[in-house]
Amino acid sequence: MNQILLITDGQSNVGESPVTAASRALAQDIVVNVIGVVDEGEAGRIGAEEIEGIARAGGGMSRIVQPHMLTQTVQMMTQQTVVGTIRMTVNKELRQLLGVESVAELPPPKRAEVVRMMEELSETTRLRVALLIDASASMRPKLAAVEEAIRDLALSLQSRQGESAVAVFHFPGEDPHVPCVLDLPWTDRVDGLGKLFRGIRMQGTTPTGPALLRVVEYFRETCGNIKEKTEHSLPPRGWEDPDVMESGDVG
């Protein structure tokens, strides 16, 4: 299951329409979610309609939030997209097999079984989330919140049973011909995140559409090329005494 999560605070102003780009992503089974992140009193600057349009074309959802809500929103969107995608698939099967519209129409014992299966799939299905971060000048004060949200998402993905990975891009690139830059290729580790956006020169243009297309291309290039889950990727639970890591692990 593939997702792009676009985090932006403005309106695109260069290149292809981001709505068209998002529909091209969806055509390749990549769902596009969009978060508009604004400070108080800044809401007018954001292209609310554009954000909604991108998400609709990308088969995903959109929200406009303040920086302190970013972490929760990223979590919620990613999880709901996984659950929603699986529900859609399962409901389609139910229509074909049993002629019912959704799981809600099944009698309780059958419903229990189908829901158990859907949860199993949500937990184990392979999941890749590419984050595309608007790094135009006005985003600078919000990047700390963005970094925290990415760390938190990576932590949740790492806690799943299924194979999961995140990748991070920012846009625009320094060269006008480069719509976006890969900051972090697919990874399933949280501890390697570090400072993501150090030393970025913030630019004025917002080539949202071309950047989305570049990320779609990246999915195509790297498909089936995610690093194997490494043996040990837990941050230590006993943070003062390295010896206590074992004794805390009772799971």
Partner: protein
Amino acid sequence: MLLKGKWNGNVYRLERPLGAGSNGQVWLASRGGAPCALKLGLDAADLQGETNVLASLERGSRNRPKFLLDADDARLDGRDIPFYAMRYVPGMPIRKFVRRCGPGAAAAAGGHLLDRLAELHEAGWVFGDLKCDNVLVAPGGQVTLVDYGGATRIGRSVRQFTEIYDRGYWHAGNRTADPAYDWFSAAVLWIHALDGERLMRLTRTLPPKNRHPRELMRLVRTHPHLRHLEMWMRMALEGRFGSTREASRRWRECAARLGGGMPDGIPGWMAGMAAATLALAAVAAVLWFAR
């Protein structure tokens, strides 16, 4: 208002709302005159996930009175509303209970809470979304966990959590369900119950990158009641108990020092004197036994 199950045909009378959970509302209801609680869900698949957890726990505990009584759909305002019926347990959220009855009451309730968690863990589940609102205490001190929306099989990723109770938020581990996940939340629960204002201020002012259990321990050490629990808190936040039964045993040892309920607002020096008196009494008792 009457509610009739579509599949099983039971009829419930809705009496009054008891509260709202993450994915629905809980009502006090009655069926044939007997009280019960009904959870009305917003989404059938969502609520079924919760019903599945309750049903699975039910299968593991045959000697106890049934908790999950019925699961069905009802037609309300032209829509099918999924619901389940459960045993009605009177009680108040643990934070309110402790504020009303004093920290001494926390000692007993905390032990009961850990026993509930131990049963859950031994059945292969983690509660997940442990927080003050989800722990009800009856007047006699019995503890009931409510809202199983976060309950997760051990080894899977926690289904639902609340940020400040989550060890991932405090950079103290991942979100894979293991008993230690609940121990961590239990520690935060006591900080929230006994020192809520300072905890909230800390989460508002601390930059995200500085979130760390040591900040929680700082609150524990500088609070007149929590400091008695320092040892237990440290072990809970670090996930260092061998089992939840051990966590419960150690809680009882530590929490005995919370005393028979020192009401809030007693000046520190007086509380200190009381502690000194207790210590003297303990020494006297030891001497007496040693004779």
